[in-house]
């Protein structure tokens, strides 16, 4: 009898704990990678990863029902609610500014470096809400969360190139999954996007590596971009990785002669204290292979020619600094050197008029073996391809077999964009040039943006080498600007009036002639005087 109340108590506790997901543990890891580049710049990549151990994406077939309640300690609740609301299995968002220079900076640690906003997500099929409906909701929710114009990534921009954007984590096997991808090259990244980004971190920007995320310095960098990645690892759980990449230039000022840098010079901040909830907090610095340099303070350890600092162990405040005894040799850096990537990309749109243009994509293979790449264009309908004019040339000679496996979803005016995908084979040490005529659309006056004369940014083409490793990096070409013909925005009324007048004049005259009889009348010349 005495046992009974205890049993009740145990049942109550057990019953309460099931919907609370109290059993899920969360891990937070942060990492900063700094790499001095050979042109004197410093590449920095912040990566903040939160793992919800044992978590899994919401089954889309249960979207109509009440969701289990969400209690997180480290995992960002704002993002978690969005993920569960729309049943997202995998999500990648990047907001970048600038052109990533592959030749001089190499492959980025985070591959999504296309200019502007890019969002892609894998969503499970089935259930009450369609994939497109949830994609629309997801865009709007993320737009609200990150204070960004992501809701403009509408059906005019949305494509589904599943071969290029393969899931980086695993997808639940319970349902069929679909990809939605959209990019908005004219979108910019700014402080207003960083503030909500910092709020998703467990230590915000107050301690740990995130202290260094100083908007005044970050958005001053030559190239900068933030990314949000949500993955599901089958045996581990849901991982949210927030990243920030920047290319900083210590040599920007004309008075600076050395490529020295420190936290103080790059970010105008130091790490005062470590983030207490972080499982690991590492700073990695790629050490140059040649030349003299010094680095302070002394690294915790050296791993694969990288200096490793554990922010929990090193003395604080931490102001990591690298210095060189000699002035930076601009001449040696600017003289031609081997590109850091095996592929060089170039894409241009030549246009002589606002009617049509000429799209050229040049791919240079620096390797001694021929390479196959997947070439993807997701072009808004305002630029339409003439595929029959597609010509591939290698060093000036037409090469018919260079383009294969073409898959093409033509654009629909005023809605769907074009998706063009092809496998290109580039011979060793040579340049493949792909040219195609394009026609430009004429938009209604309400479809033009307020700054219509500026032109339209076209999303980057994406190149993916096929013969490399399984997860080969995606390469983004710089985006291009297209100049569309504009009507006069000031005179819709005048046009309606003029056209209607001409039509009614001709219509009236014709029916006037046809409905009245011809008669001969006599007019007396004397009477008329």
């Amino acid at each position: 009898m005495v046992l009974l109340p205890r049993l009740y108590l145990a049942l109550i506790v057990l019953g309460a704990s099931i919907p609370c997901r109290a059993g899920l543990s969360e891990y937070f890891n942060e990492k900063l990678t700094l790499t001095p580049l050979r042109d004197g710049k410093v590449a920095s990549t912040f990566s903040f990863s939160t793992l919800l151990k044992g978590g899994s994406p919401r089954d889309p077939s249960q979207l109509g029902e009440d969701d289990e309640s969400q209690h997180y300690t480290l995992f960002p609740l704002g993002l978690g609610q969005i993920l569960r609301e729309y049943g997202v299995a995998e999500l990648h968002l990047s907001l970048n500014a600038g052109k990533w220079n592959y030749d001089r900076w190499g492959y980025p640690l985070e591959p999504g470096v296309g200019t502007g906003a890019e969002l892609w997500a894998w969503l499970g099929d089935g259930g009450v809400r369609s994939v497109d409906d949830r994609w629309k909701g997801l865009r709007s929710a993320l737009a609200g969360l990150f204070c960004s114009s992501l809701s403009r990534l509408d059906e005019h921009r949305t494509t589904s190139p599943a071969e290029t954007f393969k899931p980086e984590g695993s997808l639940p096997e319970t349902s069929h999954h679909q990809l939605r991808h959209a990019s908005l090259p004219s979108e910019n990244v700014c402080t207003e996007n960083l503030t909500p980004f910092l709020k998703l971190l467990p230590c915000k920007g107050l301690s740990g590596i995130a202290t260094l995320l100083n908007p005044h310095k970050l958005f001053d960098a030559n190239w900068h971009g933030l990314g949000v990645h949500v993955l599901w690892h089958k045996d581990e759980g849901v991982e949210v990785r927030l990243t920030f990449q920047g290319i900083f230039d210590p040599l920007r000022s004309a008075y600076v002669r050395k490529q020295d840098w420190s936290f103080e010079s790059l970010f105008a901040r130091k790490i005062e204290k470590a983030c207490p909830v972080a499982n690991s907090s590492e700073i990695l610095v790629t050490l140059p292979q040649t030349g003299e340099y010094s680095i302070s303070p002394e690294p915790t350890s050296i791993r694969n020619s990288m200096a490793v600092y554990d922010t929990k162990l090193v003395q604080k405040p931490l102001n990591l600094a690298m210095s060189w005894p000699h002035d930076f040799d601009h001449l040696a850096a600017s003289s031609t050197r081997e590109p850091l990537t095996s592929l060089s990309l170039q894409r241009t749109l030549r246009e002589s008029s606002q009617l049509d243009g000429h799209l050229t994509v040049s791919l240079t293979n620096h390797k001694d073996t021929s390479t196959d790449v997947l070439y993807l264009e997701t072009m808004p309908w305002i630029v339409q391809f003439y595929l029959h004019t597609l010509v591939a040339t290698v060093e000036g000679r037409v090469k018919v077999d260079a383009v294969s496996n073409i898959s093409y979803i033509p654009a629909i005016p005023h809605s769907r964009p074009t998706t063009f995908q092809a496998v290109l084979s580039i011979p060793p040490n040579s340049t493949l040039q792909l040219t195609m005529d394009v026609s430009k659309a004429f938009l209604r006056y309400t479809e033009h943006p307020p700054d219509a004369q500026r032109g339209w940014d076209l999303p980057p083409a994406i190149i993916m080498p096929l013969d490399d490793k399984l997860n080969s990096p995606r390469l983004y070409t710089p985006n291009i600007l297209v100049d569309l013909a504009t009507p006069d925005f000031s005179m819709p009324y005048n046009v309606i009036i003029f056209t209607c007048t001409v039509i009614s004049f001709i219509f009236g005259s014709i029916f006037n002639l046809m409905t009245r009889k011809f008669v001969i009348v006599q007019m007396d010349p004397k009477e008329s005087k």
Binding site: S352, S353, Q354, L355, D356, W381, Q384, Y386, L387, H388, I406, Y408, I409, P410, A411, I412, P413, H414, S415, R416, T418, D437, S439, A441, F442, L443, R444, Y445, T446, A485, T486, P487, D488, M491, P492, V495, I496, F498, T499, V502, I503, F505, I506, F507, S509, I510, F511, N512, L513, M514, R516, K517, F518, V519, I520, V521, Q522, M523, D524, P525
Partner: protein
């Protein structure tokens, strides 16, 4: 002498045209929207053929708007490369000129006449028809089919006439508006009765078998087109475009700028109004000119060329070239000089302002729009003048003497 003129001048014009097709000029006019609209452009046709050959449905997207019949013909019988296609276009020009000459002969009721060469030349050398043909616009094929159907109905070959018109209506559904006067032409005769108007003497019911025959041909061709593509998506992509005007590419007509500048919530209403407006002319013209349906057909082609949704220069060009078949109205034209000057004005301004707006970037869209208004006025003036002259003829030439005047009550 005249027969040699016909035999020498016409081949000479055709040969010159062919020579021009292989010159740089054809590259210059390739993408010109005044010569070929998105619905008649050869580049779009080639694109559709490319997609069709690579087993991608050309109608899945939104830019290919040619009939599946053209797709079938050009992927099998007719050559589609830029080298051989000009031969096809010159052939269709020759067919058009031959048909026009035969229409003239049928109207005059003679086997051949001294004016044959002039009429063929007026068709082949008309710049409004010549330039679209150099740009390989499929409107050349449409014009040839319309002329063929008129020629066959003048010659009382009803099946051939209706088949040609059914084919023409497949390519451009507005050609079906010419069916009522064509049916009248089949039950009457093509000779000029403008000077002696009289009510229709034969029963209108005689047209019913022809009407049924036309719809039978049309249905069979529609079915063939569906067989080519495998589904019905092509209908909205080709014919639907005439009603929805999704493509507002500039052309010499009145629709494109109107619907570029139109407020979105008024668009369906004005699309309806403009389409209905086109249809309003058919029946009144047939009633008024029931004694001379060929003339009604001629006026209707002029009105379609002025007011249709995607006109190119070749649509008014067909009307102007057909004018040569009706020399009896020439003495009664009231303002032919004004009309000619308006046409000259528009013909100079259209390419100039198009270039200034889209290539040079020094003028804006309103300049080109203004010249399309002038062009519409020129075409409207020509149609109105022909209409007036066609009715005025009945009063006679000598009725305006001794203080007598001809007026409309």
């Amino acid at each position: 002498m005249t027969l040699t003129a016909f035999n020498v001048v016409v081949p000479a014009i055709l040969a010159t045209k062919l020579a021009f097709s292989f010159s740089k000029l054809s590259d210059v006019v390739k993408y010109d929207h005044q010569l070929s609209s998105p619905l008649t452009s050869f580049s779009q046709l080639q694109e559709g053929l490319y997609l069709f050959d690579h087993s991608i449905d050309p109608y899945a997207g939104g830019t290919f708007r040619h009939s599946p019949l053209l797709l079938a013909l050009f992927s099998t019988v007719l050559p589609s490369s830029r080298t051989f296609a000009p031969f096809v276009w010159v052939l269709f020009d020759a067919i058009g000129a031959w048909a026009l000459v035969n229409i003239w002969r049928a109207r005059q009721n003679v086997a051949s006449s001294a004016r044959d060469g002039v009429i063929a030349t007026l068709y082949l050398a008309n710049p409004y028809l010549l330039l679209p043909s150099l740009a390989l616009s499929t409107s050349t094929i449409e014009n040839a089919l319309i002329l063929l159907s008129i020629m066959f109905s003048c010659q009382r070959k009803s099946s051939a006439a209706l088949l040609a018109l059914a084919f023409g209506s497949q390519l451009s559904p507005l050609a079906a508006f010419t069916l009522p006067p064509l049916l009248l032409l089949l039950i009457t005769d093509p000779h000029s009765h403008l000077a002696s108007p009289k009510p229709l003497s034969v029963s209108i019911r005689k047209t019913l078998p022809y009407l049924a025959e036309f719809f039978a041909y049309f249905a069979v061709l529609t079915f063939c087109a569906t067989l080519v593509t495998g589904d019905w998506k092509w209908v909205s992509q080709t014919w639907g475009t005439w009603l929805t005007l999704l493509d507002t590419t500039p052309n010499p007509g009145l629709w494109w700028y109107f619907f570029t500048e139109m407020f979105d919530h008024f668009r369906p209403f004005f699309l309806m109004a403009f389409t209905v407006h086109l249809a309003t002319y058919v029946v009144p013209l047939c009633i008024k000119f029931q004694y001379d349906p060929l003339f009604a057909l001629f006026l209707l082609l002029g009105l379609l060329g002025t007011f249709k949704a995607y006109p190119t220069l070749s649509d008014p060009g067909l009307f102007l070239s057909m004018l040569s078949v009706f020399p009896e109205i020439f003495p009664y034209l009231r303002h032919h000089t004004v009309t000619a000057i308006l046409h000259l004005h528009a013909a100079l301004l259209l390419p100039l302002f198009n270039h200034l707006w889209l290539v040079q970037g020094t003028g804006n869209a309103n300049f080109f729009y203004a010249s399309t208004l002038v062009f519409a006025c020129a075409n409207g003036a020509a149609v109105m003048d022909c209409l007036y002259a066609g009715m005025r003829i009945a009063i006679g030439a000598n009725s305006e003497a001794d203080g007598h005047f001809v007026v409309q009550e």
